[in-house]
Amino acid sequence: MTGIANIRELFTRNIRTSGIYIAFVAIVVLFSVLTDGLLLSSRNLTSLVLQFSYILILAIGMVIIIIGGHIDLSVGSVVALTGAVAAVLVIRNGMPWWVGVLAALGTGLLVGAWQGFWVAYVGIPAFIVTLAGMLLFRGLTLEVLNNVSLSPFPSEYTSIASGFLNGLLGGYGYDTFTLVIFAVGVLGFAYNSWRNRRARIAYNQTVEAPVLFVLKIVVVAAVVMWFAWNLATYRGLPAVLIILAVLVIAYTLITKHSVFGRHVYAIGGNLAAAQLSGVRVKRVNFWMFVNMGFLASIAGIVFSARSSAAQPAAGNMFELDAIAACFIGGAAVTGGIGTVTGAMVGGLIMAVISNGMSLMGVDQSTQQIVKGIVLLLAVAFDVWNKKRASAAR
């Protein structure tokens, strides 16, 4: 009885968030069938992570911007600019790799502060500010690079993106270290879920039936460990995955549990009410954009390290992929709703679709068409879901 109610609740009450996971699983299954299992091969999984990591990093910052009720169209250009700054210092001027990294991060923070200033303190809509930024920073990139690509980066720099942690605990045909790291992660997840569940029970909140709870953890653990096994039997733990994992965990904590995160949701949900509740709206808006600049610079470093070059056209259209990831992941166009994990799953859906179609040999034009339709349907689902919710009132 309770089990049935729980299953139904899992699907209906949180259809907005659970729908996305179901869609993700369906898409993975679909493409692994269509590619004869190639999608889930060790080699492809690793390259999937490397190839889409920068979009996922951008989506973390973007979802915060979108929850706050803004948009950022400039991140693609910022990725190019930060990579270019690093390249000029490291490749052209022969400075150490870490100077390039710091300079790129600093550039990102400055760019964020610049855009945050116009949005928060001058009051220009983010759409306009970042549209201007998209042109401005692309122009600066060309300026900095004198319109030519710079390459190659030294190996220390490229290993940020293409390096692997491997053999730290010895290898037996598979990398033990990778497995241990993932096992620790899974245990942490299980412990955290159990703690949350206990807290909810203590406050008389509804929880899933015990069977369902255990099942959920077992499924998650199995999927994650299977993924780890694939990495371990190929080249080990990609450095990018560590960066991404740290960012996802940190920003999940920030959005869910920090005062700053709460204020972002409050501003996106009802700006006037947030202001009258004592939220320093301008300050929060400003830091949202600084943070976006920071994450865009990390994406810029990862991207330039992966291609071992800074190109004038780098990061083109990245902003659209990042925005699409957020909306597919359940963020609301009007602000106030969205999660980091949702945006990650949204990004992975886009990643699996492109990667799967590439493996099938589908050409770029078709890929674009399919991605466009997926984005449209995801938001249509969101709108439909909202109507359904308000009709139920």
Partner: protein
């Protein structure tokens, strides 16, 4: 039944409209005679507007139970267009005009006068609009943009729009709520004129004096049910007698116990302001609050009475961290100490809380749950190193749910799904958690039902019993007289009087609330 068709233009039979969890209307019957002005009275939330939305097709046939019989035929309206095609036109409380379009364009919006081929025939549009404007007694050019008109004239444009559709049954939802006396008088005259022309009107209004003056019959709606319909001719001898008759029907019980009893023990002064002057945020040089001074003591409920536009909300919001206006001058004191409050966080720190008159717009994040709305202004208290203690947050929310009697299964329910009364309790909880010294409550019972009003009054009493100072702004004088110890009157931005409640009357307050107008007109004459 069939032979009643000639005299009755409309019969609504057994209308029941359910929203999930709420029965908004239950077995409501309404019969309107041809050519009469029929008033519908009831408290906020009684179901009047819902009934009119059923009638006009906003809630389409099939979403409610019961029958609508128009001119003896059953009507099944799927949309507003269906009802308008049958001559039933509704004018909503919130006017639905496009500000940047002209009067003529607004009148024929969706019903454009066109030439063959679809191009708009501007000559015909403007000429016909001019005729309609003449009929409603509005002497404006049809090409004037709506944004250049005051609310009263906009209301007339709405009516002109309605008669352009060959209206036979005109529904007006609170048509005079935002109008001044002159405009209201004109509008009522217009309704009488329409009556002579054979147009039937249904009018929802809270202004009972108007109803007593103009209506032929009145139907009372209470708690989603139609209670009674009576002839105004037999309801009472005088306007006052008729109004009492209506109030008895609306409230359905004695008026004496609408306000809980309270023994007041005013203590030390908590808040005082002196020479408080506020200028309009965009219109340079316009004074909105002029050298206001007032004080509130611990354990005291002080009212601010003023007409719309007197500067009540503006005074309150300027006090609350300069959330309104510019060039604010004057001094505020808390416990006798001067305080400088430059923004909302300052105000919260100084112990001031402000509960807005518009809770959906300014008080709540409707897509967030109760728990997070309650904690929204008090996260500083709930957090350590920038992170929120969520267990504590949940505990706090649960405590307020219990103590404020917020009716909800748990505090994880979205606030947008609560009733007005429960939403107001959430806003109050949010501010109580900031542990304020003085609470400014702006129209705390607007749009909530009688039972919840009583609960809000009880909460106010508990607050002052705990030594808080409470400042209440209200448009309803009986409410202020029922819950306050003292009342300041505000007129055109100035404090025009301070009255102790035991010696106050509605008439006396109203005289003070309108005082400055007369003086100002005298000044301009002189």
């Amino acid at each position: 039944m069939a032979d009643s068709a000639p005299t009755d233009i409309l019969e609504m039979r057994g209308i029941t409209k359910t929203f999930p969890g709420v029965k908004a209307l239950q077995d409501v019957n309404l019969t309107v005679r041809r050519g009469e002005i029929h008033a519908i009275c009831g408290e906020n939330g009684a179901g009047k507007s819902t009934l009119m939305k059923v009638l006009s097709g906003v809630y389409p046939h099939g979403t409610y139970e019961g029958d609508i019989v128009l001119d003896g035929e059953t009507a099944e309206f799927g949309t507003i267009n269906d009802s308008e095609a049958r001559g039933v036109v509704i004018i909503h409380q919130e006017l639905a005009l496009v500000p940047y379009l002209s009067i003529a364009e607004n009148i024929f919006l969706g019903n454009e006068r066109t030439r063959a081929g679809g191009a708009i025939d501007w000559n015909r549009t403007n000429a016909e609009a001019a005729d309609l404007l003449a009929r409603v007694g509005l002497s404006e050019s049809p090409t004037t943009p709506i944004s250049a008109l005051g609310v009263g004239k906009q209301q007339l444009v709405e009516i002109a729009k309605a008669i352009s559709k060959d209206v036979r049954l005109l529904i007006l939802d609170e048509p005079t709520a935002a109008l001044n006396d002159n405009d209201s008088e004109h509008l009522l005259g217009l309704l009488r004129q329409f009556k002579e022309q054979g147009i039937t009107s249904i009018m929802i209004s809270h202004k009972l004096a108007e109803i007593a003056e103009i209506a032929d019959r009145t139907t009372i709606i209470r708690d989603g049910r139609s209670i009674e319909t009576f002839d105004m001719a037999t309801a009472g001898a005088s306007s006052d007698a008729i109004q009492d008759r209506i109030i008895r029907g609306m409230v359905g019980r004695d008026l004496d116990n609408r306000y809980p009893d309270r023994v007041s023990h005013p203590g030390e002064e908590v808040l005082r302001i002196e020479d408080w002057t506020v200028y309009h945020p965009t219109q340079t040089g316009r004074v909105v609050v002029d050298k206001a001074h007032l004080n509130v003591r611990a354990g005291e409920v002080v009212g601010i009475a003023g007409l719309m536009g007197a500067g009540r909300t503006e005074l309150a919001m300027s006090l609350f961290g300069r959330s309104y206006g510019r060039d604010i001058t004057g001094q505020a004191y808390i416990h006798g100490e001067p305080v400088d409050v430059h923004n909302v966080p300052d105000a919260i720190r100084a112990g001031i809380a402000y509960v807005s008159e518009d809770r959906k717009q300014y008080g709540l994040n409707l897509i967030e749950d109760i728990r997070r709305n309650i904690s929204a202004a008090g996260l500083g208290k709930l957090s350590k190193n920038g992170f929120v203690d969520e267990n504590e947050e949940l505990k706090v929310a649960e405590e307020y749910r219990a103590s404020m009697n917020i009716r909800t299964p748990n505090v994880l329910v979205e606030v947008g799904k609560l009733s007005g009364g429960n939403q107001q309790k959430v806003v109050l909880s949010k501010w109580l958690y900031t542990a304020p010294e003085v609470l400014i409550l702006d129209e705390p019972t607007r749009g909530i039902d009688v039972g919840a009003k009583y609960e809000i009054y009880t909460i106010i009493n508990e607050l002052v019993a705990a030594g808080k100072a409470v400042l209440v702004i209200s448009s309803e004088l009986p409410e202020l007289l029922g819950i306050c110890d003292r009342i300041y009157t505000l007129a055109f931005g100035r404090i025009t009087g301070e009255v102790d409640v035991p010696s106050a009357t509605q008439e006396g307050l109203m005289a003070l609330m309108t005082q400055e107008t007369t003086r100002e007109t005298q000044e301009t004459k002189a």
